[in-house]
């Protein structure tokens, strides 16, 4: 059993010479067995990061290791579902599952894959091209879980599912992950969909790591404070602050006990993420136990 599911150091990826880097100097560490949310605005590098971890792309700089090996060597233990859920449109659902069985001969479990397909009332003889977006997502997830991965990489997995299917698939996913100790890395820009499911957070912005660490620790390191606009917040790090009239609301990283003049609460995941998205200049914070300090 490897202790670390994913470890990245100075990881960078550039598509073409002239374009901006999709990832730039990313460093983080994800312990095995976590359910990790990867959040960030569009174009933050979430998909690139997952593709690199899945061994589908080669990093331009730095390194990424997956389950203690190079991503290409860990291919058998890792499952990946891409954002647009590519499947062969001319294959039937049953043939798509056979595709998984044929290409994962040492790991494949028919029962798991078939159960997920059956829960969606999918006809095994239906061609993939006749399925709706949500149904295709279900087949893509069946393909990923049928592989029995140790690390499951999901890029915007729930985007085109109806709320019921989303709830049900998420429950299946979480139960399966809990039972088998699977590490799950899930990207999303719908924060609400991750709340309650994740215990680890990786927030990306403009190709860099902005927040990384266990969710509880990250939340505990922040306070949502309200008080009078003219009161000072030194020496605390202010992530983001807004003034309405004479009242100021801010998300801060306390550097000691907070003044009594401030009303403070622990932020929710959504408040934490939104404040960081609104303030792209806020300093990065890493609480994932890697010796090198945050960049």
């Amino acid at each position: 059993m490897t202790e670390t599911a994913i470890e990245a150091a100075a990881l960078g990826k550039r598509f073409g010479r002239r374009r901006k880097r999709a990832l730039d100097g990313c460093a983080f560490q994800l312990p095995a067995g976590r359910i990790c949310a990867v959040v960030g605005p569009n174009g933050a590098g979430k998909s690139t990061l997952l593709s690199l971890a899945a061994g589908l792309l080669h990093p331009s700089d730095g390194t990424i290791t997956v389950l203690g090996q190079a991503p290409a060597a860990a291919r058998e233990q890792v499952a990946y579902v891409a954002q647009d859920k590519p499947l062969h449109p001319q294959l039937t659902v049953a043939d798509t599952l056979r595709f998984g069985r044929e290409l994962n001969q040492r790991r494949w479990d028919d029962r798991v894959a078939e159960r997920i397909v059956a829960e969606g009332d999918l006809d095994p003889d239906a061609k993939i091209r006749t399925l709706s977006g949500g149904q295709r997502t279900r087949v893509a997830l069946a393909l990923a879980l049928g592989k029995r991965p140790e690390l499951l990489l999901l890029d915007e997995p729930m985007a085109d599912l109806d709320p019921l299917a989303r709830h049900q698939l998420m429950a299946t996913l979480m139960a399966d992950a809990a039972e088998r100790g699977t590490t799950v890395v899930m990207s999303s820009h719908v924060v609400a969909e991750l709340e309650g499911a994740c215990d680890h957070l990786l927030l990306l912005g403009a190709g860099r790591v902005r927040l990384a660490g266990p969710l509880d620790d990250l939340l505990a390191a922040h306070r949502l404070v309200t008080g009078r606009a003219d009161a000072g917040l030194d020496p605390h790090t202010v992530v983001e602050s807004r003034t309405t009239g004479r009242q100021l609301t801010a998300l801060v990283r306390p550097e000691g006990p907070l003044d009594d003049t401030w009303q403070s609460t622990v932020p929710t995941l959504e408040e934490l993420v939104l404040a960081h998205l609104r303030a792209p200049e806020a300093p990065a914070l890493r609480l994932d136990s890697v010796p090198e300090a945050a960049v």
Binding site: L57, P71, R75, Y80, A82, L91, W108, D110
Partner: protein, 332 residues
């Protein structure tokens, strides 16, 4: 130990008959291409068998029925008729072999590689327990095996039809062994060119990563390569030279060059004196020469060109693997 075995057999899939793994995936995903190829080979083979047997026989009896074989009619006989037209049609269907490289290039660039990289199904395969290199190997090996089998069959049948139509060729204006399409279809080149199409298509698909541009690039690339390689053909084996005093030697085989010879044996341009002896003397013309490949050069030319084409195939395949490796990282 026993328990381990039981656990493994309970989760492992019962071995099913037929192809497994990537080969199964290849045959299933490209099922229509496979059927199309089977159909094409069947049509080509049928046409060539027709030329070999009933087609040629019917043409002969038609020829005799028109009295063309009687000495009085002889050369004056303007031989044409439904049987010989049918034979011509069947021959051109057999010549489909010449389009196989282009079809292979377009298909490999468009459907085999380009489309899969464009819509992400290639990445879907690599996200299973299959490395990109093994994926590409299967993508190339399975069609290559089918192309080799099909083109070899068609080449053998084309040779058979070609030899059985030989007597007819002496009467009816017919094709020559060195015509591009005949030369290709009668030897190892048909197979080599089909593989060239596959390799060029795969490389175009990997370079462009989109179906339509890759299809177009593969087709254009193959045509350019084929033209370039074809223009080298006459120089791949030493030519033979015929010389004759006073007049041109007979026109035979694949002629590359001809002209006049002076008394010192130097080759000069024919001053077009025809039979004007004074003109010939003025130019010091004593004879004429002709450089050509006799039909006995068929196999040397064929094999040298096949070798060159296969070397280009190997380069394209190597480039494809290197390109894929550079994009996806170390292949395992």
């Amino acid at each position: 130990m026993t328990t381990v075995v039981t656990i493994e057999t309970s989760t492992a899939v019962a071995p099913s008959r037929g192809p497994r793994g990537l080969v199964w995936v290849m045959l299933r995903v490209h099922r229509w291409a496979l059927w199309f190829w089977v159909l094409l080979v069947a049509v080509g083979a049928g046409a060539l068998l027709f030329v070999h047997g009933p087609g040629t026989d019917a043409a002969w009896s038609e020829y005799r029925a028109m009295g063309c074989d009687s000495p009085e009619v002889g050369q004056a006989c303007d031989y044409s008729g439904p049987a010989i037209s049918r034979l011509g049609l069947a021959n051109s269907l057999g010549g489909l072999l010449n389009f196989v490289p282009l079809l292979a290039a377009a298909w490999a660039g468009g459907a085999l590689i380009g489309r899969e990289l464009e819509n992400g199904t290639a990445q879907l395969a690599w996200a299973q327990s299959v490395s990109p290199a093994r994926w590409l190997a299967a993508k190339l090996a399975v069609p290559a095996a089918l192309l080799v089998a099909g083109t070899t069959l068609l080449t053998l049948l084309h040779r058979l039809a070609w030899s059985s139509a030989a007597p007819l060729r002496s009467i009816v204006p017919w094709r020559e062994w060195y015509d591009d399409d005949i030369f290709l279809a009668n030897g190892t080149l048909a197979t080599a060119h089909a593989l060239l199409g596959l390799a060029v298509g795969a490389l175009a698909g990997l370079l462009l990563r989109r179906a339509l541009p890759a299809l177009a690039a593969a087709a254009v690339g193959l045509l350019v390569l084929t033209q370039a390689l074809g223009s080298l053909r006459p120089y791949l084996w030493p030519v033979e030279t015929l010389t004759q005093k006073g007049m041109y030697p007979p026109y035979t085989g694949m002629v590359l060059d001809d002209g006049a010879l002076t008394s010192t044996g130097a080759r000069v341009e024919d001053p077009l004196c025809i039979n004007d002896t004074k003109c010939l003397a003025d130019h010091d013309i004593v004879g004429f020469y002709r450089d050509y490949h006799p039909s006995s050069h068929f196999w040397p030319l064929q094999l040298v060109e096949t070798g060159i084409v296969l070397a280009v195939v190997a380069l394209a395949v190597l480039a494809a693997f290197r390109l894929l490796r550079r994009r996806t990282g170390a292949a395992v």
